[in-house]
């Protein structure tokens, strides 16, 4: 199961500062959508609005619509906690819970929510999530070790396992490979390709080759200048975006002739 998200006219604010303006896009189900653009153009901010993580920051707010499954995520009476259970997130820096073992980290979504899990159910979830995140073979003999004992790439895959263990509809990834070496990056890209059969994936990346390699659709964000809001310049199939983009700015950015 996975779902598509229709975003229309989304404005994102930090207090009075308009950070991202007028974004409308369709995020297709069972595909990978990549968001690219220069630093500070609001891609990560936009990504965080999709599962209402944006409003965790004091003073942050959002105007506009993001509709998933006929339900506006910012509609009246929508509980952000419920939204986040459907739309998981992986962060830039791996952040396993330092007080928990590898196994407990995978089960964190269940355990932290005070839900009970039978022993066999728990080990089944752990194996399924870790296999899904391509980590099972590396850690199956040391599930009781602390999560922070793993290498950076393994920790990031542990965080992905943690996110998919709660079976979300959509998986948001905020530069998941920027702190990783090429081999770990490859492992995570392979993983994304496997996961897209079951999940809708949105990835923010600074690495254009990565966007070209893994994504089905690409959106380009840009900013007119410091202090100005970021905009979605163009969005299209990845192949089109990287071969014949319709906007000059996109072509300049992609070909490295930017700024």
């Amino acid at each position: 199961m996975s779902k598509r998200i229709d975003v229309s006219d989304l404005n994102v604010y930090y207090s009075d500062f308009l950070a991202v303006e007028g974004v409308s896009m369709v995020i297709e189900a069972r595909s990978i959508t990549a968001l690219i653009g220069p630093s500070g153009c609001g891609k990560s901010t936009f990504l965080r609005t999709l599962n209402r993580m944006h409003e965790v920051i004091p003073g942050a707010r959002v105007e506009g619509k993001a509709v998933m499954d006929g339900q506006d995520l910012y509609g009246k009476g929508v509980d952000p906690v419920e939204v986040r259970r459907q739309i998981g997130m992986v962060f830039q820096r791996p952040n396993p819970f330092p007080t928990m073992s590898i196994a407990d980290n995978v089960l964190a979504g269940v355990k932290l929510n005070n839900r009970r899990l039978s022993k066999s159910g728990a080990s089944e979830t752990i194996e399924r999530a870790l296999t899904g995140a391509n980590l099972w073979n590396e850690v199956k003999d040391r599930l009781e070790r602390p999560g922070s004992s793993l290498s950076g790439g393994q920790q990031q895959r542990l965080c992905i396992a943690r996110a998919i263990a709660v079976e979300p509809q959509v998986l948001l990834m905020d530069e998941p490979c920027s702190a990783l070496d090429p081999i770990s990056t490859l492992a995570i890209e392979d993983l994304m390709n496997e996961l897209k059969d079951a999940y809708t994936i949105v990835i923010v990346t600074h690495n254009m080759q990565q966007a070209a390699r893994v994504s089905d659709r690409t959106g380009f964000f840009n900013i007119a200048g410091t202090g100005k809001p970021g905009h979605l310049i163009e969005m299209d199939d990845t192949a089109t975006m990287f071969s014949s983009p319709s906007e000059k700015a996109t072509e300049d950015y992609i070909s490295g002739r930017f700024g």
């Binding site: 599962n51 993580m53 965790v56 004091p58 906690v81 419920e82 986040r84 259970r85 459907q86 998981g88 997130m89 962060f91 820096r93 952040n95 396993p96 819970f97 330092p98 007080t99 964190a108 979504g109 355990k111 932290l112 929510n113 005070n114 602390p146 922070s148 004992s149 965080c159 943690r162 996110a163 709660v166």
Partner: protein, 351 residues
């Protein structure tokens, strides 16, 4: 391509003093110190050490400048000063422990711990601190029961819930001011409060516990606040992103991650109040027998017991020292428990 700089110089090699040299200089300096002490009057250990230390600083610096050069000499001076500062700081600590042990052990015994002061007067043999231990444990325990949850929850409010603004600033300032309240003022406040609420005849341990809780809460708030702020925001976000509600995030991620530091902070706050004398003297008073009921009647606590015995003079002074030793042992025991708790709960790293 033209070379922009001169060819690199070879890495300089410096002569270093052999490792035994500082020790040799130290022994020599102490001997010279003893000599100087003898010359200025009579030979005393303090004099020898003081003069020796001064001679050592000068001698090691000069030797180092001559043999090793200026940069290493600075390193030697800094090392020497830091080491001396440490030793000086250790003097009061060690001498205090030695003093309490030597004086306290004269009367300290199993019987002393299990006896109260009923029918014991002045220089009578016997007597003990059983009633004072019970009083201290009950009153401090009651104060902790109120102050620790109150303090932790206030800290959680300040760090996790309060929006930046006048309210948060006001609470922070008030907590800071409360940290500096003289304990006697807290005692007077508690005494007055209970006169108003329960009448002037009412005497009970709970009045003292109120005063102690008043002193304890701000300490708990301050230390817990610091610890909660140390919890990385990433962990909170990781928890939110899993669809965990805020209160569960606070309880199971933030508090759980900070528990080791919070335990230490709580222990410091207990240690801060367990030795309070003044507020207990005016609220709880002193009594010779064991009182198990904190809500009725006077009680004795260890600091007040020590004060009373010392004030009586004569043979009672020994009881005062033994009482002080008991108090130190209780604090040490609590510290040990806290260390075990933090070792057991602290985040397990890669090591």
């Amino acid at each position: 391509m033209t070379a922009l700089s001169a060819p690199p110089k070879p890495i300089r090699t410096t002569r270093r003093l052999p490792t035994y040299a500082p020790w040799a200089i130290l022994v020599g300096s102490l001997l010279v110190g003893a000599l100087l002490s003898l010359l200025t009057g009579e030979l005393t250990l303090t004099g020898a050490i003081l003069f020796g230390a001064l001679v050592y600083v000068v001698a090691i610096t000069i030797t180092s400048v001559v043999v090793e050069g200026k940069r290493w000499a600075k390193d030697r001076v800094a090392t020497t000063l830091v080491t001396f500062a440490f030793l000086v700081a250790m003097i009061p600590l060690v001498s205090l422990v030695v003093l309490v042990l030597t004086n306290g052990l004269e009367r300290f015994s199993w019987a002393f711990l299990n006896d109260d002061m009923v029918g014991v007067y002045g220089s009578d043999p016997g007597g003990g601190v059983y009633h004072a231990i019970i009083g201290t444990v009950l009153i401090t325990g009651l104060a902790s029961l109120v102050a620790i949850p109150l303090g932790i929850m206030t800290a959680v409010y300040l760090v996790e819930y309060a929006k930046p603004g006048p309210l948060r600033r006001a609470i922070t300032i008030l907590v800071d001011v409360m940290t500096g309240i003289p304990s006697i003022v807290a005692g007077l406040f508690a005494a007055t409060l209970f006169v108003v609420v329960a009448g002037p005849q009412y005497k009970a341990g709970v009045i003292g516990a109120t005063a102690l809780a008043l002193l304890m809460t701000p300490v708990v708030v301050r230390s817990c606040e610091e610890m909660l702020r140390l919890v990385p925001n990433e962990l909170r976000e990781a928890s939110y992103a899993l669809g965990v509600p805020k209160w569960l995030t606070v309880v199971k991620v933030v508090l759980r991650t900070a528990v080791a530091g919070i335990t230490t902070g709580v222990m410091i706050s207990i240690a801060r109040v367990i030795g309070e004398t003044a507020p207990l003297l005016i609220t709880v008073g002193i009594v010779a027998n064991v009182n198990w009921n904190v809500f009725d009647g006077r009680m004795t606590t260890l600091p007040v017991f020590v004060y009373r015995q010392y004030a009586q003079g004569g043979a009672s002074v020994d009881r005062a020292w033994a009482g002080a030793l008991t108090l130190i042992l209780i604090v040490m025991l609590l510290n040990l428990v806290a260390r075990l708790v933090s070792r057991f709960f602290s985040p397990k790293g890669a090591r």
